[in-house]
Amino acid sequence: MTAWSSEDAARLRTMARELRADIIKMIAEAGSGHPGGSLSAIDIVTYLYFHRMRVDPANPEWEDRDRFVLSKGHCSPAPYVALARRGYFAREVLWTLRDIGSPLQGHPDMRKTPGIDMTTGSLGQGFSCATGIALAGKFQRKDFRVYALLGDGEMQEGVVWEAAMAAAHYRLDNLVAIVDNNKLQTDGATAAIMGIEPLEDKFRAFGWETRRIDGHDFDAIHDACERAMEHGGKPHAIVADTVKGKGIREMEGDHHWHGMPPTAEQAERFLKELSTEVTA
């Protein structure tokens, strides 16, 4: 059990707002990227890096660390801003996103970015790799946990279910899959493109512990992750209902922001919106 109070929730909310600003800034600077899903995921990522995971920024390769695998790798800005804030690298590095020679690739690269635990970006494969890390953890009798963050569109990939089957088969209760269920994918509404619901039923049928939460409610995120610490012999799936583009009114719920960078003018407006909320 980790201690939790309303101050923690407030602290993380403030931090997530600041990290949202960094996400907007870095994607605008890069001129390409995926703001919508980065913003829907950032509350979860903030919670994991600033309250939940046992990691050591001074020793990113620490072998007993908890692992975070961004299976929805296109939302790399979310872990990038969190890693910079935790001190894995300087904040200035964020502004080099997607440039030649930058350690921050468009999709996470474990060899270039300190703190990135797995190279991901081809949907589904990251989750499968995370399952392998969890399996290795069990085999080596280590007590680290593996947190895999998936997108809702990603659930359409077949290998997600191959991995889900394997995780249950090997009783990987050290694996937590969090689905950033923002209900929008590149071409439109997930339900219209290829329906994935009922997700909890699917995971349960595959042998997982499941729960559904509001992915922007820090108390709910904490509660779900706390319960996922129980070793019941089953992997844990958290279906986190989220809003694509969360935090920027103009972006919220609009699938066009899946892979579109804000212009300089838009970025300025969005940053103002975020800073106004901070002071409000």
Binding site: E63, D109, M110, R111, D117, M118, T119, G121, S122, Q125, S128, C129, A130, T131, G132, I133, A134, L135, A136, G137, F139, Q140, G158, V159, E162, A163, M165, A166, H169, Y170
Partner: protein, 329 residues
Amino acid sequence: MKPEPTRVVYGRTLVELGEHDPRVVVLEADIAKSTNTFQFKERFPERFFQAGVAELNMVCMAAGMSATGLRPFCSTFAVFASMRACEGIRTSICYPRLNVKIVATNGGVEICGDGVTHQGVEDISIMRSMANLTVLAPSDPVTTRKATLAIAAYDGPVYMRLGRQTAAVLHRDDEAFELGRMIPLRGGDDVAIVAFGNMVEQALIAAAELDKEGIQARVLDCHTIKPIDMEALRAAALETRGIVTAEDHNVVGGLGGAVAEAVSAECPTIVRRVGLRDRFASSGRDYRKLLHHYQIDAAAIVSAARGVMEASRSREAVLLGSMAVNERE
């Protein structure tokens, strides 16, 4: 060693590796009896992981396990490793240079009876196109054991293709084996035959046949297709009339492609490719008959070598002719 399928030697060598290195783990996709990883399973059940019939998940899980410091070997048939698991090998293993070994059996048409669905005849060209990947296909029991030990000692991603049928012993136990270095099995300065896997034996049969015609063929066992042994190819190109490549694989993009690409840059010579001629094979009850039917055997190598000799001589005649014309002018 005795003649036996290279996959059997692989299974046995895996156990040997397991005895020495507790980090060696084995993943399998439900054909352990065939790939021979069952030998490892029997000795080290706690280090053997079934992925079930899910090859992509198998290689990605191996990537994850490797990221924690384990040394996974994954096995399935060549056709599934190279295509069903292709992107996992490319993006989750090769790109981050993870220390995962993919050892695929039933390369080529050797799984004759099952037909096209189970014949891996594109694997070498697919795997060869992946950066950071070392690609091997040993020919006999001796080099299979050495290759398995060598790739285990090498820190990086490897694809190794093995056969299904019994392989003759072609190499000596005391012979040096080095990744990326071809092994000459026979000397000769008329033509060079570069082959991998089951075609090395066919190349030796062909060379003996050519000898009767007065053609001296050099036979090179190209157990490592990538990186290709440029030094051996340069010598073959400069010292012989031309090169015949032989592979139980589509002629497009495999060893023939690798050799042609390599020599064309600095020592262009005639390259004739023996292999499956850009078509699908079929079922066959006897794999030797099947290889013969699709002209992937010693007879095809002999005829390609003769072709090299003829083409080289006629090119020589043309060159001499044009030199004579130049002199007259």
